[in-house]
Amino acid sequence: MTIALFLQHLTNALSLGSLYALIAIGYTMVYGILRLINFAHGDIFMLGAYLAFYLVTLALLPWWVAFLVAIALTAMLGIGLERVAYRPLRDSPRISIMISAIGASFLIENLATVLFGGRPKGFVVPDIFSQVLHLGSVSVVSISVMIPIFTFAILALLLWIVHSTKVGMAMRAVSTDIDAARLQAIDVNRVVSFTFGLGSLLAAFGGILWSLKYPQLNPTMGIMPGLKCFIAAVLGGIGNIGGAVLGGFLLGFIEIMIIAFLPNLTGYRDAFAFVALILVLLLKPSGLLGKNQVEKV
């Protein structure tokens, strides 16, 4: 393999890793607060992409306006989802809320099929993102470089929110102990809504970036990335934002690099994440950066 090819793979890995990281954060935040695997998160990602698409093609908004509006709308949808599907079950056994999450996921996917049609659509990619850049002997598409940059910017913002704002502190409190947080007069409902909103926002952002790089939209496009990103979150240590980022990048790298060096395993591409999951769950269930949680008897 030439250096040029390797660097190309590396850029792809970075991009994919960034996208996975963005989506994984949403999973890990929600799990940290509610101990819930939000199966519908991948579908939120899908909705973000579709909304952006329709705002550009139907509402004819300039792309950057459309993207921002789409992200905002998706964040609201995420908040709505929590209100309707998860809040009523907050005190129910965990299995019920998981079934609700699965149901919500299927609901959204099928609703999307009904509303948007099952046939794939081509995303509208503004020119600035499809420029081919030549860096020495390496050619990359501009979006591949921009994705990691955007991602890091967003992550910096997120870290600031979580560590330096009141809301962020509230989030961390609820994630440590929801009952204690209530006793400290933290409005848990608002924190949860905020978390869902934030997570959905990131997912929408990820959805749009994804579609800029892989411009094919279909209602089930969120399933595989969704599953893989949950796995990424588990890899890094569920409940831990840094872990989600680490997991996302790790998974992106594993996926691209294995194919790069062993191209005859391409068909098994989707299975890598699952194998990684099984290994982590068996060897270190708390994930790379996670802490062991002991159940009180």
């Binding site: 802490k291 062991n292 002991v294 008897v297």
Partner: protein, 247 residues
């Protein structure tokens, strides 16, 4: 016993002899239930070991420890919620009956005999605590006090030789505590048990235990007979401000 950076129990050395009733007391958070959990195999001690009847049980899984003859009740009652009162007791009988999948499913005659015996014994146990009339009621429909009694007879159904009771008198009024004391003494006779008891109710502990250990922040600060403990300065200090029945 270490949990990450926190050491819950660091100095505990206790012995229970045949037929004794030994108490384990201490302020809240002292590590008493953790000690129970180590003994019954729910936690594996990070240091030290647990020996039962000469056998090192420190690394054994809980069900094997129960098989060897140690049974317990829980501080927060852990009944089988979707099952009836008698079913709760019957589950505990499975251990000694040797229940396996195929004969059980096929309802073989030998199985039928075991079932009848188990039921008879379960009804006896329920009767001894006045729960016989509630045999077919859902376990969670019982009032709190009766649920506690059910937990105790459930543990007895495993035919233990050492019974660990975790705060059996919690939430009981003085009269109920008296009954409980009598009950504890009677089951020791009837089932030839040794008993290890965690309790906050000083009356109960002083009344039934022949010896006690006092734990504070995971460290044993005193041990001896009730009289000795009652007069122990360190113990009184540890409890200062918290409930103590007699000074």
């Amino acid at each position: 016993m270490r949990f990450g950076g926190l050491t819950a129990v660091s100095d505990l050395s206790l012995t229970v002899g045949d037929g004794e009733i030994v108490g384990l007391i201490g302020p809240n958070g002292a590590g008493k239930t953790t000690a129970f959990n180590m003994i019954t195999g729910v936690y594996k001690p990070t240091e030290g070991n647990v020996t039962y009847d000469g056998v090192d049980i420190s690394r054994l899984p809980p069900h094997k420890i129960t098989e060897l003859g140690l049974a317990r009740t829980f501080q927060n009652i852990r009944l089988f919620r979707e099952m009836t009162v008698i079913e709760n007791v019957l589950v505990a009988s499975n251990l000694r009956m040797g229940i396996h999948l195929i004969p059980s499913v096929l309802h073989l005659p030998s199985y039928g005999k075991k079932e009848r015996e188990a039921r008879a014994r379960a009804m006896e146990l329920l009767d001894s605590v006045g729960l016989a009339d509630h045999a077919n009621d859902s376990a969670t429909s019982l009032p709190y006090g009766k649920q506690r009694r059910l937990e105790i007879v459930r543990a007895l159904a495993t035919k233990p030789s050492l019974l660990l009771l975790d705060e059996p008198a919690a939430g009981m009024n003085p009269q109920e505590s008296q009954e409980l004391m009598r009950f504890i003494l009677s089951i020791r006779e009837r089932h030839s048990l040794s008993i290890l008891l965690i309790e906050h109710h000083m009356q109960v502990v002083m009344g039934v235990c022949s010896r006690m250990y006092v734990l504070e922040y995971g460290v044993t600060i005193a041990d001896g007979t009730p009289d000795e403990i009652r007069k122990n300065q360190r113990v009184i200090e540890a409890y200062l401000g918290v409930d103590n029945a007699e000074a």
